[in-house]
């Protein structure tokens, strides 16, 4: 084996405030419709931030198995739904049905699952408030009575790796796996690690999924306090950008070898080309103004894919709408592409910021954009920030320069991930 295995994407899944199918969400994006609206899941009337891109589809519509709802949380519902959408679209479950017993065992053991999980949220701990209030600070009393008010399944419901477990059980994906808990870049890294596992022959196929439900009151409170939230909308790269807005949901891609996909006649949406990952070592919140980590992540991804910057046809930017992140992102892009920057866009203005699911959601719509040969506009953009103009973002659709998209994802911890994909001709 000399040439690396070619890895293709044969299934896509997504759910967020803008819709619960890839087509529905992409339709909203190209039509300039944002899902950001007043918050309804919480009475936010007194809050400085009153908007989010909520996804109010009922649990039972996303995951009909109601018994399962008892042992998982809302973020897991999104993750399971998105992963199952991608698996179903790939046709792999039907393919598995046709295998003989021995081939089926082999198939299961060679099917991997990689999740980027929001995990570690605050709200789950509130299940203990009743016991804490009753104990009035007396831990001895708390220890004797918490079991009366807390669900015995509490820990299991809140495991960060639930999506791995339940998608695995439901689809017999028994191979290589990981649950990445790395803030915003979890979903993007799930794709990178899934592809790396296939490339290294540790798996023949793998589903990658990212899922999150970030807008708990406590998270909203702290982000707002730190000046990261916009009170109205996300305006990536705009002079008047005022911060980000939370979204919730999940996205997923099914990856497999081109050889397998072609042999079984699976529909191919695109090819995974490479990934890069770098931290700026700046702690939880700080980012470098020069875009150091992001530019290195992009360079690593280009090297991993074996392509030059000139081959990139469009960039799906992280574009979270905060002042510092967008400015340093523009800086990083310029460092790599010089004056020949391909069209740039982003989707957070439409779907909100899905945190752990953000990068993989962007990847799904990078593939959709490439296949329709369009770089969707940023509907909320009024005036590109003169600080980094000219910069090829637009309110209107643009033309991709080639069939390759670069997807950028950034997160707390100075994290940066870059992914490269090519559309299927």
């Amino acid at each position: 084996m000399n040439s690396p295995r070619k890895i293709v994407i044969t299934g896509l899944g997504a759910v967020c405030g803008a819709g619960r199918t890839v087509d529905e969400i992409f339709g909203a994006i190209v039509n300039g419709r944002s899902a950001i609206a007043p918050i309804t899941q919480l009475d936010a009337s007194r809050w400085p931030v009153r908007v989010a891109a909520e996804c109010n589809v009922e649990n039972k519509i996303l995951v009909p198995d109601r018994k399962l709802h008892k042992s998982i949380s809302r973020t897991d519902i999104f993750g399971i739904y998105a992963a199952e959408s991608a698996i179903q679209q790939s046709g792999l479950s039907a393919h598995r049905e046709m295998l003989d017993a021995a081939a089926e065992i082999q198939f299961d053991d060679r099917s991997g699952i990689f999740a980027g999980s929001g995990g570690g949220n605050y709200g789950c701990n509130y299940d203990f408030f009743q016991a804490m209030a009753a104990a009035k600070g007396d831990l001895k009393k708390f220890g004797g009575h918490f079991a009366e008010s807390v669900n015995p399944m509490w820990l299991l419901r809140n495991l960060p790796n639930n999506v791995l477990c339940h998608v695995g059980i439901r689809h017999n994906f028994k191979g290589a796996n990981a649950c990445i808990t790395n803030h915003c870049v979890g979903g993007a890294m799930a794709v990178a690690e899934a592809a790396a596992a296939i490339r290294a022959c540790e798996a023949d196929r793998a589903v990658a999924v990212g899922h999150d439900t970030p807008f708990e009151p406590e998270t909203l409170f702290h982000y707002q306090w730190l000046g990261l939230m916009s009170p109205e909308m996300v305006r990536p790269f705009d002079r008047d950008r005022s911060g980000t807005v939370f979204g919730e949901g999940a996205a997923s891609v099914m990856l497999e070898t081109a050889e397998d996909a072609e042999a079984r006649g699976g529909k191919i949406f695109g090819e995974f080309l490479g990934s890069g990952c770098a931290t700026e070592a700046t702690g939880v919140l700080d980012i470098r103004p020069d875009g150091d980590g992001l530019s290195r992540a992009i360079q690593l991804a280009l090297a991993d894919a074996g392509i030059s910057p000139g081959a990139v046809g469009m960039i799906i930017a992280h574009g979270n709408g905060t002042h510092a992140s967008d400015a340093s992102e523009a800086c990083a892009i310029r460092r790599v592409f010089g004056e020949k920057i391909p069209p740039v866009t982003g989707f957070k203005w439409a779907c909100g910021h899905l945190i752990a699911a953000s990068g993989i959601l962007d990847l799904v719509f990078a593939l959709t954009s490439l296949s329709q040969k369009i770089v969707p506009g940023i509907a909320t953009l009024n005036l590109t920030d003169p600080e980094f103009a000219p910069f090829p973002v637009s309110k209107n659709p643009q033309q991709p320069r080639s069939d390759i998209a670069l997807v950028l994802c950034r997160g707390f911890g100075g994290m940066n991930v870059a992914l490269l994909v090519r559309a299927n001709p």
């Binding site: 009475d43 042992s71 299961d108 053991d109 999980s117 995990g119 570690g120 605050y122 701990n125 509130y126 203990f128 408030f129 804490m132 209030a133 009753a134 831990l139 009393k141 708390f142 220890g143 004797g144 079991a147 669900n151 015995p152 399944m153 820990l155 299991l156 495991l159 960060p160 790796n161 477990c165 695995g168 059980i169 028994k174 191979g175 796996n177 990981a178 649950c179 990445i180 808990t181 790395n182 803030h183 979890g186 890294m189 790396a196 596992a197 290294a200 540790e202 009151p217 406590e218 990952c277 770098a278 931290t279 070592a281 702690g283 939880v284 980590g293 290195r296 752990a356 707390f412 911890g413």
Partner: protein, 431 residues
Amino acid sequence: MTPRRRTAITGIGMVTPVGNDARTTWTNLQAGRSGLATIGHFDASGFPVRIGAEVKNFDAAAVIGNPKLLKHSTRSHRFALAAAQEAFADAGIRPSASDGHRWGFCAGAGMMGVDYRELETVQKYCAPDGEFQPDGFLAENFPADPVAFCRSQTNSGLALLTRHFGIRGYATAVHTACASGGQALGTALKVMRRGHADFMLAGGFDSMLNPIGLSAFCLLGALSTDNDAPERASRPFDLTRNGFVLGEGAAFLVLENWDSARKRGANIYAELAGDGNSLSCYRITDSPPDGDGPIQAIRQALGDAGISPESVDYVNAHGTSTLMNDRSECAALRAVMGNHIGSMAVSSTKSCMGHLIAAAGAVEAAVCALAIRDGIAPVNANYTQPDPDCNVNIVREKSRPMKIRAALSNSLGFGGSNSSLVFRHPDEVDA
């Protein structure tokens, strides 16, 4: 095909219930000294389970020094900082301004980021009578603490350690419950092999020994309730075992390319030679009785290391001391090892230091490396009544001096993730 890059373990750091550094931990594990006791750092006297494996006499201010780091770190982050510091010192290298981008970081990170006292503050403002009212956050005097927020993010530990040590390359945090530490090392190995880093700081850190974490495991009935005999409460593979003992701590390893480690004359403990990784797809808390799932992970790890089952001389078992988990692990070992099962020493060091959850796999990887270096299989403490369903060659009564050509470490998690790692003696690699 060019020969694969080999990965050397050249630095080890540990903070565990049996010692606040690697040497003390290893000495106590060899002697079979227990780190299990009545929980002391919070009042657990009213809980159904009152015992745990705490890190003891850990003077964070003395070990870490930097007050800013202390302020930005949770209990488990402090263990992580101390273990990482020790690992770098032991390896004799650390990231510099010129090579920081070639250093990577990968850790199994615990799932709990909110300190109980911080939760109490939120409860006081938002749920004084138990019912959560979000507007409590908006009270004028609510003590908003952005530092506490920063400590509680899923990748806070990653952010803290990469910043403090200047690691600027690939960085990730993973969580597959009890398999986290093993999976973190497996991921680190793969990142090294694919050339995305030349050095890695890899390990795990966790502390669920707090009122919420303890409650959570009590609710599941997963813990040993031997409150009156903590030292004997964790007895993996013993017929009378009745649950695990919750522990806390951290371990980090410095990984580097074998050839460059040899070139600089580094002290190499062992090769991190193989990783196997599978999902049981069975039940969320149980491992299948026939060992399906762990079997695939062990096989893959051996295949990945390019060794036969016969060259494994020691297994550091997951061995939690729960009824089903120990049985399933033994079934898996028997299935993979065949006739070799009787001649291979098996022990669970959880018998002395409890279950470190997301840090367990990392600590036990460090133990395997030390076991190889010193030629000693550490004792499985508290093993007096053999369980016919766990018929493997347990290292009983005292640690066993023996040449260890290769060691295997298993980590099997809630949610069904299984990780197996293979470590090889340097002589086997250089031969």
